[in-house]
Amino acid sequence: MGIANVAALIACALAMGLGALGAGLGLGNVARASLRSMARQPAKDPEFFRYMLVGQAITETPAIFALVVSFLLYFAGGRALEAPNSPAQSLMFLSAGLCMGIGALGSGIGSGLVAKEALEGMSRYPSSQGQLAILMMIGQAWTQTGGIFALVISLFMLNGGGFNQLSGANDPLLWGSIPISAGEILGIARFAGAGIAMGFGAVGSSVGIAYIGCSACRSLADVPEAGQRIKSAYFIGSATAQSPSVFALIIALILLIRG
C-alpha cells in the first residue's frame, strides 16, 4: 500500500462523481420532455413512456462508462501495486479518473438534450414518430463519441499504456528539494497531459454535436418531407464538429505512446 493506492481510490471517487453529474442532468431533461408530451397527446401515453425509457437508457451510457473506470480504479486501489510509491503511477490513476469523469460530463448533458428535443417533436407531429426515434438514437450515439474517446484513453492508461515504457526511471535527479528521477517527471507530465487533453477536449464537441442533433430533430419534426437532406447535412455537420475531440484524442495518444 502506498501513495498510488490512495490516488487510485481518490480517482475512483472522482470518475464516478463527475461522470454521474452530466448523465443525471440529461436523464432529467428526457423525463421532463416526455411528461410534457404525455400531457399534450394523452392518447399516445404508452409510446411516450417507451421512448422515454429508451432515451434514458442511452443517456445513461456515459455514467456506465464512468462506473466501469471507477470499478477498475477501485480494484487497482485495493491491489498490491508494483510501484506503490511512484508519483508517475499515482498521476496515471488520478488522470485516468479525471479524464473519464470530465469526458462524461458533456456526453451526458448532450444526449439528454437530443432526446428532449426528439420527444417534444414527437408530441407536436405524431406521424413522424418512427423517423424521429431513429434520429434520436443516432443523435444520442454521436453525442457520446467524446465520452467514448475518454473511456478509450482511461482504459489505455489503466492497462499500463506507456507506463512500462518509462525510461530513466532509476537515474536520480534532484528537482528542487524533492529527490525524483527524470523518468518519473516525464511520466507525470505525460499522464497529466493526456488526461487533461482528452477530458476537456471531449466536453465541448459533445455538447456541440448535441446542438446539431437538437435542431435536426426539431427540423425533421417540422418538415418531415426534407428528412433525407436534413439527415445528410446533419451527418456531415456532426462529423466536422467531432474533429476537436479527435484532435484531443490524437494528442492524448501521442503523449501516452511517444512521450
Partner: protein
Amino acid sequence: MHRGEVMSRMGKKAAPAALVLLLAGCGPAHAGMRNPPSLVLWGMSFNHATIIHCAIAAAAAYILVRLLAVNLSRDHPRRGQVVLETIVDTFLVLARQTIGPKRGGWYLPYIGSLFLFLFACNMMSLFPVPNLHFGGETFNDYNNNGLYDPGEPFIDMNGDGVHNPGFQFPAFEEPTTDLTLPLTLAVIFVVILGHGSGIRFHGVRGYLKEYFSPGGLIGIGMFPLNVVGKLAELISISFRIFGNIFGGAIIMSTVSGLLHYFVAPLGMYGYFSVFCGVIQAFVFTMLATTYISMEAAEDPDPGHGDA
C-alpha cells in the same frame, strides 16, 4: 417486395453471414478485459471463451430464427411468424430509409443477422452455465473465481514440468464484454461492407477523393485528419457496446456479490441485461447502417425531391 420473399432471401444469405459472424471470435484477444488469453500464436493471443461464446450465440440466433419461421402461412400466421415479420419489417424500413429504397434490400440480410447475433450475445448471461473443467492439472484458485488467472500457479501433478491445463468450458458471459468481438464486427461492417460499397458505388477514385474532402491544398492538409476520423468511427462504434455491456456485467456481478449470491437481482438483470442489451444491439446495428449509408446512399430521386 412481399414479406415471404424477403424472408426467403434472408434465409439464403444467412449462411455466409453466419460464417462471417463466427469468424468474429477469432481475433487478437489481448484487448480482452475479463478472461486472460488462453493461446498465444504469432504475437496474437486467442481467447477460447470468446470463440466458444460467439459460436453458441450465432447458433442460438440461427436456431431461434428457424424455429420462428416454421410453418409460414399467409392467411393464418402463427405468433412466431408475426414476431419475425416485425423484426424483418423494422430492419427493412430502417435500411430503406437510411440507405435508399433500391439498395436497402440488398443490405437487409447483413443488418438483420448482425442484430440477431448481437441480441443473442447480450442475452448469454441470463443462462447460468458454470465453469466446467475437463482433464488436465488443477490450479491454485487463489481468488476462488473458478477461472485461471495468470498469477495462479498450476499444480504440476505428473511432474513433467509442463502445465497441462486441460479443457475448460467457460461459464456463460456476454462475448461483447471482450473488446475483440465488437472491434471485429466494426471492422466487418464499417470497413468491409461500408468502405467496400463506397468503392463499389463510387469507384476507387471517388472513394479516395473522400479523404481529401474539402479539395485543393486544404484537402491535402486534411488527409491525416480524415484518416483519423475514419478510425474514430471504428473506435466509437465498438467501445460503445463494449463499455455498456461490460458496465452492466460489472454492476450485476457486484450486486450479486453484495447479496452473497443468495438472491438473483432479477430487476437489475431485466434492466441491464435484457433492456440495455436489446437497445445497445439495436444502436450498434443502426450505427453500422448509418456508416454504410454514408458510403452507399442513393442520390435523392429528382422526381420526389422538394416540390
